[in-house]
Amino acid sequence: MTLREINLSTTPTPEAIAELRLGDIVYLTGLMYTAREGVYMRALEDRANIPMDLPSQSAANFHCSPAARINPDGSFDMGAVTATASFRFAKWLPEWMAKTGARLIVGKGGMTSKDYKDYFVPNGAVYLSTVGYGTGALLGRGVENVEAVHWNEELGLAQAMWVIRCNRMGPFIVASDLNGDCLFERENAKIAENIARVYEGTKPAVLKRYGESDDRSDEVI
């Protein structure tokens, strides 16, 4: 099977989002901002004013902190760009989406299909996963310009809100769709068929641990 390649705006139309299928390869053009726990806490818990016009400037939230520096003259150097695992942000995402109109959540590893059905689909949003992880240098090449960095003094460079102008940045993989289906869960289900075979002959450890899951077809996120 050949994978479909799609160019997408960071302020995509509902039609463009509806077109996306699980496993499509996407390249993004337009403004994208980084926001992870630091930004979510500051904007949602401390109620700080978000320093951008969202979603008109950008509907793409990248779970990322880049390898970048701020030069003494105030200019930026951005090297590699890689995502961080998104499942930890489920606590803040519903409110963030409602507040900012984000339609593209870009990160590592995706969310659960329950997250997708509960608040991605109602908001007309999908999840794009980075590839690898991570293709930091390739994504870095897609940075046309660093437009701004917000809250770096309050949050540090890694948690700051970076505003990036992307020019065909990618590759990303479509990991959820408007049915709320999850690419990773689809793959897990295929792999689950092999679990009994690879575990054959092993037995549970003599010393048990209090555990949250003993089902190997389950996930730990």
């Binding site: 590699a80 991570g134 295929k190 092993t202």
Partner: protein
């Protein structure tokens, strides 16, 4: 006497090389994986990673935006002497870490665990970690930097002799299953297994097995070497590949290191080095020569010694 300025400048070069240049042994392993992979999505991922290594080298930019946690392993020949002593050496390594964070640039990942204070330079309390080893001969210093990624792919469990090899296999599979899904472990990776030691040493052994041994190396104990082959194959037979997509390549290599443990136990740790496998090594000789390489060659006969005394003739016989 090795000049301290040479230690710092070499360390800065190593930070740069580790972040940008994929080690050849791992690249060969991944290229082989890319040839054998037939899952459509996992093949795409491996190809993108190979493109990424190329882009990093061409642009001299970091392979990955997540710098991991940069750290140092320092090995000294018994006759090595450092200008200013070991405190000066530690200062030089901390300074090199901070300078390279701004210079490459790398992501300033290191924060206080509670207050989340970020000095924006990857230096702080206990950061970067600096660990030491010694060798009986030589007046050289080996500087090894490893930028191991992070949050997933590593686990520890106290097993017992009655768990046997089947118990070891099961915990190994558990770690791959738990962290392989969605590609949280950034596989296919070099998987390191630590067996034995005390709990903390067990973690260190596994980490060193994944980061300080190269693809294709084998433990000098032939029965452990056999286990390494078997475990590599077992991991690759799960049916899971890059990013947790259906595929054949989960483990680029499996390295096992052991240490003597409590007679009643069999502690085990599992570590996944990532798709960027960032390590770089330089030997600084007493006369100021610097030789760069990517094989840490950490696990020498001396590091794995079992006896009370180290007999030099024993080394000659190896």
């Amino acid at each position: 006497m090795i000049p301290i300025s040479l230690i710092q400048s070499t360390a800065e070069t190593l930070m740069d090389k580790a972040a940008i240049e994929i080690p050849q042994d791992y690249l060969d392993g991944l290229q082989h994986a890319a040839k054998t992979e037939d899952g459509d999505l996992s093949s795409f991922v491996l190809k993108a990673m190979l493109d990424n290594y190329q882009a990093a080298k061409e642009d001299r930019r970091a392979m990955c935006g997540d710098t991991g946690v940069p750290r140092w392993f320092v090995k000294l020949g018994n006759a090595a002497r450092v200008e200013g002593g070991m405190v000066a050496l530690e200062t030089a390594l901390r300074r090199a870490t901070a300078n390279a964070t701004n210079g490459v640039p790398l992501r300033p990942n290191r924060v206080h665990p509670l207050w989340r204070t970020d000095h924006d330079n990857n230096v702080g309390i206990g950061a970067p970690e600096i660990e030491y080893g010694f060798e009986p001969d030589g007046a050289w210093i080996d500087l090894i930097t490893v930028h191991k990624g992070g949050l997933f792919g590593t686990d520890y469990r106290m097993l017992f002799p009655s768990d046997g090899v089947q118990g070891i296999k099961r915990f190994y599979l558990d770690s791959l299953m738990a962290f392989g899904k969605r590609g949280l472990a950034c596989q296919p990776a070099i998987i390191g297994i630590g067996l034995g030691g005390s709990k903390d040493a067990c973690m260190a052994l596994g980490k060193r097995a994944s980061t300080l041994r190269i693809v294709g190396s084998r433990n000098t104990d032939p029965r452990i070497a056999e286990m390494e082959d078997e475990f590599k194959e077992l991991g690759n037979s799960i049916g899971m590949g890059a990013m947790g997509f259906v595929g054949k390549n989960m483990v680029i290599d499996c390295n096992i290191e052991v240490g003597y443990c409590h007679t009643g136990g069999m502690p085990m740790s599992v570590h996944a080095f990532c798709l960027s496998s960032r390590r770089a090594v330089a030997r600084i000789h007493a006369d100021g020569r610097v030789e760069h390489r990517t094989d840490p060659n950490w696990f020498t006969p001396y590091q794995r010694r079992e006896t009370v005394d180290w007999a030099p003739q024993q080394e000659a016989a190896e």
